[in-house]
């Protein structure tokens, strides 16, 4: 068995990051959620974040759920605009940006899972995670600081 550790990176556009942070603050104290779109030609680059309703029936402060219809729409949008559906973001109100056991249980291969930590209504951290299927664990993706143009 290989012990090679792969460090993947994720580029997040300033505008995409802005959408994610604003959604996290707006939804607080509930969890927010949304989809991440972009390209993967030269590494993974998220260029668009699209918020969706947290459809969880019950405690939205601790759980999020995306409606299957919203998932269908996200796949269709990706095909229409020529971007790849690359992941999902959600927030952790009053908790660190670390994936929970529930997050791990529900994790799909390939997707980047960006988690935003919100404390007292303010974004304090964001980190990205990707499932390592063979190990059954999340591996952190290094988020490269967005480049601000203009």
């Amino acid at each position: 068995m290989s012990t090679h550790i792969k460090t993947s990176t994720l580029q997040l556009s300033a505008s995409g990051l802005e959408v994610v942070r604003k959604d996290a603050v707006k939804a607080y104290p509930d969890e927010c959620c949304g989809f991440l779109f972009g390209t993967e030609t030269e590494g993974r680059k998220i260029t668009l974040a699209v918020p969706v309703t947290n459809h969880k029936d019950g405690d939205k402060r601790r759980r999020f759920e995306i409606h299957p219809q919203d998932y269908l729409r996200a796949e269709r949008l990706a095909a229409e605009i020529g971007l790849d559906l690359l992941g999902v973001y959600h927030s952790h109100p009053e908790h660190p940006a670390l994936p929970s056991l529930t997050d791990l249980e529900m994790a799909l291969p390939y997707f980047s899972y960006v988690i935003v930590s919100v404390k007292s209504g303010k974004v304090v951290d964001e980190r990205s995670w990707k499932l390592n299927e063979s190990l059954g664990l999340f591996e952190e993706e290094f988020i490269m600081q967005p480049i601000h143009l203009s």
Binding site: K56, R63, P68, Y71, L86, V88, P99, S100, L108, P109
Partner: protein, 94 residues
């Protein structure tokens, strides 16, 4: 030929194909079975140990949730039908 749309995170199990054309006439179940027979690595992400659709996966026929159809996955499909495999997206803080 009906079409099955593979969700992006599972496309690595279909050689990056986003769609699958179903050759034979039949039901939704049969269409999914022909897909997972062709791409065996995909199978465990869609079908459970009892041979049923996994609880973490929904099927849509066009814009209809297959579980809401009268005959569910036994519904017969037409050539123009589009079946989507929709993975559950959820999580939380603990």
């Amino acid at each position: 030929m009906a079409t099955i749309i593979i969700p992006t995170p599972l496309r690595k199990f279909t050689g990056n194909q986003s769609t699958f054309k179903v050759n034979e006439a039949g039901t939704i179940s049969e269409a999914i079975l022909s897909l997972t027979n062709q791409y065996t690595d995909l199978k465990k992400h869609v079908i459970d140990d009892q041979g049923k659709i996994r609880s973490f996966v929904r099927l849509y026929l066009g814009d209809e949730d297959v579980s809401a159809l009268d005959q569910k996955a036994d519904t017969r499909i037409k050539e123009s039908d589009v079946i989507s495999i929709v993975p559950a997206i959820a999580g939380g803080i603990y």
